[in-house]
Amino acid sequence: MNLRKFIVILHLISIVVIFSGCSKENNAVEEKASEVINVFSTGDINKINEFMLSSDKVEMNQELAAEFGFAGNSKQNNGVLEQIFKRTSIEIEDVEKETITYKVTAPHMTDLFSDIQKIEATLRTDNFEDYLSEYIEEAKLSETTVKVPYTMEDGEFNADYKSQEFINSITGGLFESYKGIYQEMLNDYSNGLEE
């Protein structure tokens, strides 16, 4: 084997190793990035909350859990987000070095609050939930893409799924719509400051 042949083979081996390494890491990221997809595919609000928020998860000895009142955040009962999430699906579109691009399909909720304001006079506490349920059920599905930054260090995956962009996407634009009406409320308040 002459020197030139040896160098070529060495290069080939290096390339295989490098690509193999990249591929392995990429696979690991994809695997982690798929967790959110799997969770949302269940439509289970408890699992979604645990994954997305994990902030009021309280674990303890099961034997005393009920007595202790540590059942965690278990009061979910057909809430507005639960209904939206049941119609929401997520796919991975691309995985890059620092971001994952997701394609999210969700009921179109962008106009919810402006639509509510049109019929505000007829809204009451006791029929508001029904109105929302019907609205979500009848809403068309729309697609968005959203980039989620992530880090992968020593096999530890970290992605911020609490970003406004991601939350807005999985809620079908509901979040941005909420921000709009919130601003209106503040304007009302500001205008009423001085008597």
Binding site: N49, E59, L64, L123, K162, M185, Y189
Partner: protein, 810 residues
């Protein structure tokens, strides 16, 4: 102040001796009781049942846990669970001690953390559930010190990690939200717009998905794009200065420590002793401190090492920060102190001020460092606009150089002389002086120009809007970091806990600032509107007061868990096990334990045993009568087969019973050294040593009633002559009377309502399988002072394996 408390507590160790009563029930176990004073009830001696087995000191889990305020349960007969799931002053959590095992489950935040192990196995037997005494106190956020014949036990206090839990449980309340907190439902604020109405409806539905979603929507609802750097500096300033509620909370905290020194308490009692021997110079107190810590280290290493007060003393002395740092001030002050102030009192004042200065100085540093940490490391996608954040970053550097100008320490330094020489306690002085207001935001205009008088409601509103945005970032950052750090059953490193504390502080302070500014925007309303919204304002201020208490706690965060600010962590557990050796404690207990008879003699006691009928029917009515010199148990259905009267002669009378022939009873009394004083044929009165009187009432030659009276201290006075109890003139002239009632499973519920008497006594003793305590008290309905009270303890009096109840009248 904390230092001083530590010193006093440790000084008390110099006088240590423990009085215990023991009765061997089984070969390898010794049961007894120990005097205990709890920090929430100073001056009142209570009894704790303890057990010694294999040279280890155990405490009754049920008794200790419940006394500390926890709930206690035997979980599947595997372990005893001590827990609290209520909203109260106790830490929210669970600790489990496994029987016949050193395994311990201890909840930290929301997980049972790895790394906890008891120094010896817990035990369950027919007498109860027994857990390691000192170790269990440490896990339950308590601690103990021995003072003379009493163990002084601190009521559990929340640590910083407990605060994380409280904050999590109250996020929804603490986060300020315009819709939720100032919404349309809170009166006419002229904000009853349609948007507000809809938001309130929507938030109600959103709650069905969980509080966290609502919080997330609330925090990120503000649109920051239109905000610039205008208020960035102001918010940075507010974040780094002590708010009025924080200030008040700090005073409350120090005052709570000061309460330990109440004259009624064991430590206060010791303090008085020290005062008599104390020279009037501060240096003498300092020398005492040095001597004390040497003695403590020499004689009581195990008892004191894990005690917070001891550690504070150790730190103060080691770092020589106590007097040396303020030496000149103290000497100057000393010259100006009037002759009426003793050295000790002056020392107390100095110690308080030094304590405050240390506390506040640490807090000032913490606030600035927390802001810097936050601004440079916050990784959450920011809601705050970049320009606003930049202005905060720039200003934080300025703040770091001149924070002293606004600090509480500055105030204390400037007013040291006055504070020490004033007759008020320091805490009181700080809380009432007009110049305290120099410190609070509302009048800090010299240093915080934007808070100067004349700031408009609209400006406040703007400030609150900016603060809302910062609040959103601070919340998300804290929550995100908390979930990273406290993610599983492995305890995070201390530096992470410290950073988490900084983030938690930033979050809480942002809530505080936002709410405070928003309340400020309500100023200037018409009188009618102001009246309407006053309840809203009061409620919102109460939330901020609560937040301030958390902030003060968090500001004690450290990088080394000094003073166990994060609680007793697994690494502390490891260190504890490595150095654990309770042989000295056991020796101390044994050396000082007294024979039971001697104990009873000293206490001037009487013993009644085996009220079998009481046990059966659960109660007696009207049979219990008392005066301060007389105790009788007159229910005819009851029987006594054992009476022991002890005075200094240690007399015993056995098998004196109701229902027995009177001649037999008389003979027993005479044979035991009693002399007959009166004989009417139905009524027989006996005395011994002039200290006791036993009267027997007989009908048809059968004993129907036995009355035992303690005569010491003045004898019977104002006898009613109606056959009931001696009319008691309750007071100091008589000695204590003690009754011991013995049974294996007794339930007594005695109510004594003698209409002629001003004293109404209720005695409730339940000693079933689960409950072993009693309530003995005088309702004191007559309004007499020196209210009458009692206590009960369990002792295996006859060493027959059964507990007897000792009731001490005090």
């Amino acid at each position: 102040m904390k230092h001083f408390v530590g010193i006093v507590m440790c000084i008390s160790l110099m006088f240590t001796s423990v009085t215990l009563t023991f009765a061997k029930a089984e070969d390898e176990k010794q049961y007894g009781s120990i005097n205990a004073e709890f920090s929430d009830n100073p001056g009142y001696n209570e009894q704790l049942n303890i057990m010694i087995k294999d040279s280890h000191v155990y405490v009754n889990a049920q008794e200790l846990g419940e006394r500390l305020g926890y709930q206690v349960a035997d979980t599947n007969e595997k372990c005893v669970s001590i827990y609290n799931n209520q909203e109260n002053e106790l830490p929210y959590g669970l600790t489990q001690f496994y029987y016949d095992d050193t395994k311990v489950n201890h909840m930290v935040f929301n997980n049972s953390m790895e790394g906890y192990e008891a120094p010896f196995s817990s035990v369950k037997d027919e007498k109860g559930m027994w857990i390691p005494m000192e170790y269990s106190l440490l896990l339950l956020n308590s601690s103990m010190l021995i003072a003379e014949d009493t163990v002084v036990i601190a009521i559990p206090e929340k640590n910083i990690i407990d605060t994380y839990m409280d904050v999590m449980r109250n996020n929804d309340t603490y986060l300020f939200d315009w819709g939720d907190d100032f919404g349309y439902s809170h009166g006419d604020l002229q904000v009853i717009g349609g948007a507000s109405h809809i938001i309130n409806l929507f938030q109600g539905v959103l709650e069905l998905d969980g509080d966290s979603w609502k919080q997330l929507f609330q925090t990120m609802a503000m649109d920051s794009s239109s905000y610039d750097s205008k208020y960035g500096q102001d918010i940075a300033m507010l974040l780094c200065t002590t708010s009025d509620a924080e200030y008040q909370a700090a005073i409350t905290r120090v005052n709570e420590l000061q309460d330990i020194l109440t004259e009624d308490g064991k430590l206060g009692e010791l303090l008085s002793k020290i005062q008599k021997t104390q020279e009037t110079k501060i240096e003498a107190l300092y020398k005492t401190c040095e001597t004390t810590i040497k003695n403590v280290e020499k004689d009581n290493p195990e008892a004191a090492i894990y005690n917070k007060a001891y550690r504070q003393l150790e730190r103060a002395i080691d770092q020589q920060s106590w007097f040396s740092d303020t030496g000149e001030s103290i000497l100057a002050v000393q010259k100006g102190v009037s002759g009426g102030i003793t050295g000790l009192n002056m020392g107390m004042r100095v110690a308080e001020v030094v304590g405050y200065m240390s506390e506040f100085s640490d807090q000032d540093k913490f606030m600035v460092q927390a802001l810097e940490q936050y601004l440079s490391n916050c990784t959450t996608q920011t809601v705050t606009s970049e320009s606003m954040k930049k202005s905060m970053v720039d200003y934080s550097e300025i703040l770091q150089t001149n924070i002293g100008a606004y600090s509480l320490v500055r105030f204390l330094e400037e007013n040291l002389d006055g504070l020490i020489t004033k007759s008020l306690s320091i805490g009181e002085a700080l809380g009432t002086q007009a110049n305290i207001e120099l410190l609070v935001w509302s009048l800090a205009s010299d240093y915080i120009p934007f808070l100067s008088e004349g700031i408009s409601a609209a400006d406040k509103f703007e400030l609150a809007l900016y603060a809302s945005i910062f609040q959103a970032d601070a919340f998300l950052n804290y929550q995100s970091y908390r979930d990273q750090v406290l993610v599983d059953t492995k305890m995070p490193e201390l530096d992470k806990l410290y950073t988490l504390s900084q983030y938690c502080y930033m979050y809480l302070k942002s809530c505080y600032i936002t709410r405070d500014a928003a309340l400020g925007s309500l100023k200037g309303k018409s009188k009618g509107t102001e009246e309407k919204i006053q309840p809203l304002i009061d409620y919102q201020k109460s939330i901020n007061d609560e937040i301030a208490m958390h902030m003060v706690k968090i500001k004690s965060a450290s990088l080394d868990n000094d003073l166990y600010v994060y609680g007793f962590l697994p690494e502390d557990n490891t260190a504890y096990l490595e150095m654990y050796d309770d042989s000295k404690l056991v020796d101390l207990v044994k050396d000082n334990s007294k024979d039971l008879i001697e104990y009873l003699g000293a206490k001037t006691s009487l013993v009644l045993e085996d009220f079998t009928d009481i046990s059966d029917n659960g109660s007696t009515d009207g049979g219990w009568e008392y005066g301060n010199e007389a105790i009788s148990f007159g229910a005819s259905s009851d029987s006594i087969d054992y009476i022991m009267i002890n005075n200094e002669g240690n007399y015993r009378l056995n098998e004196l019973q109701w229902g027995m022939e009177k001649d037999v009873a008389i003979q027993k009394l005479l044979s035991e050294g009693w002399s007959i004083e009166e004989d009417t044929g139905k009524y027989y009165s006996f005395v011994n040593h002039g200290n006791y009187n036993i009267s027997i009432f007989a009908e048809d030659n059968i004993v129907k009633q036995i009355v035992v009276k303690a005569l010491n201290g003045g004898g019977l006075e104002n006898s009613t002559g109606d056959g009931e109890a001696g009319n008691s003139t309750y007071g100091d002239e008589v000695g204590n009377s003690n009754g011991i009632f013995a049974t294996s499973d007794i339930k007594v519920n005695v109510t004594n309502n003698i209409s002629k008497e001003p004293y109404t006594t209720t005695v409730e003793i339940s000693l079933g399988d689960s409950k072993k305590w009693s309530v003995v008290y005088d309702e004191n309905t007559d309004g007499y002072s020196n209210g009458w009270s009692g206590e009960a303890l369990l002792v295996d009096l006859n060493k027959d394996g059964r507990d007897e109840v000792i009731v001490n009248w005090q």
